[in-house]
């Protein structure tokens, strides 16, 4: 059942003001309706003018094929998955799926439980590259902080793991302070970098 996790502030770049946003555990039908009604048409409209993979990456659209509706349905009732949504101004601004049955690879924490961020996306209108005037800043950070908090709640001390799309590698490495373990050939299409966040990195990332 959808539950409220936190109230945060998001900075609206268009108005230069912060607005209250809410983080929820468990994506619900209203979030999926926003995806269908707002996100998907935006993706398709932007994709229509693109002709190469490089253009798709530049437009910050490498996740456009993620099946949020299908995965939400398939994973319902599975203890090993949890989903989160960020809502602001009455609209879904970010979505995330995490997997809780995963183990660390980084030598310092090898074999310990972690939260694996399976899917993390901010609404298309918040993305650089997608639009010249993105709206809300910080949705991705709010979701990643939520994943760290969830990891701590489960007893995993904030440890995270994830495979990054090429368009997001720099953000995870420099803005989030995660450790880049390089390309993971085991995960299709064999070009995605695998990142981990340690307990210490999680504390630094979430420090006020």
């Amino acid at each position: 059942m959808k539950s409220h996790v936190a109230r945060v502030d998001l900075y609206n770049r268009l108005t230069n003001k912060t607005e209250p946003a809410d983080v929820f555990q468990e994506i619900d039908q209203a979030n999926l309706d926003d995806y269908t009604r707002l996100w998907r048409p935006a993706f398709l409209g932007r994709l229509a003018g693109l002709t190469s993979a490089a253009e798709v990456q530049a437009a910050n659209l490498q996740d456009e094929h993620w099946d949020w509706i299908g995965k939400t349905s398939q994973r319902s009732g599975h203890l090993g998955y949890e989903s989160f949504a960020v809502e602001c101004a009455g609209v879904t601004q970010g979505l995330m799926f995490v997997k809780t049955t995963a183990f660390a690879r980084l030598e310092s924490q090898k074999g310990l439980d972690l939260v694996y961020v399976d899917l993390l996306a901010t609404a298309p209108w918040n993305r650089h590259g997608f639009t010249a005037t993105p709206t809300y800043k910080g949705v991705g950070r709010v979701l990643l902080v939520t994943a760290v908090s969830y990891s701590a709640e489960l007893g995993f001390r904030g440890r995270l793991g994830l495979h990054s799309l090429p368009q997001s590698e720099s953000w995870y490495r420099t803005q989030c302070g995660m450790t880049d373990l390089g390309v993971d050939p085991a995960v299709p299409p064999g070009v995605l970098h695998y990142f981990e966040m340690t307990e210490v990195q999680a504390q630094a990332f979430t420090a006020p």
Binding site: G80, T100, T101, D113
Partner: protein, 64 residues
């Protein structure tokens, strides 16, 4: 629900919780998640293996 564990089970739980840096409650909850995950894969007809890091020998995890 009250969970009664034998001395032997409690010893294992204590050791695992300490070695993995988790509380006993957190560890039991994680065990349930993992057990559901493995069971569902088996139910789908998949096989679950563990692999030796050096020899790459695989051993099937038997779940009855």
């Amino acid at each position: 629900m009250t969970l009664m564990l034998s001395d032997k089970e409690m010893t294992v739980l204590d050791r695992l919780a300490e070695s993995r840096g988790m509380s006993k409650t957190a560890l039991l909850r994680q065990a349930l998640r993992l057990y559901q995950s493995v069971t569902e894969r088996i139910d789908r007809g998949e096989k679950v293996f563990v692999e030796h890091p050096d020899t790459k020998d695989k051993a099937e995890l038997m779940v009855l």
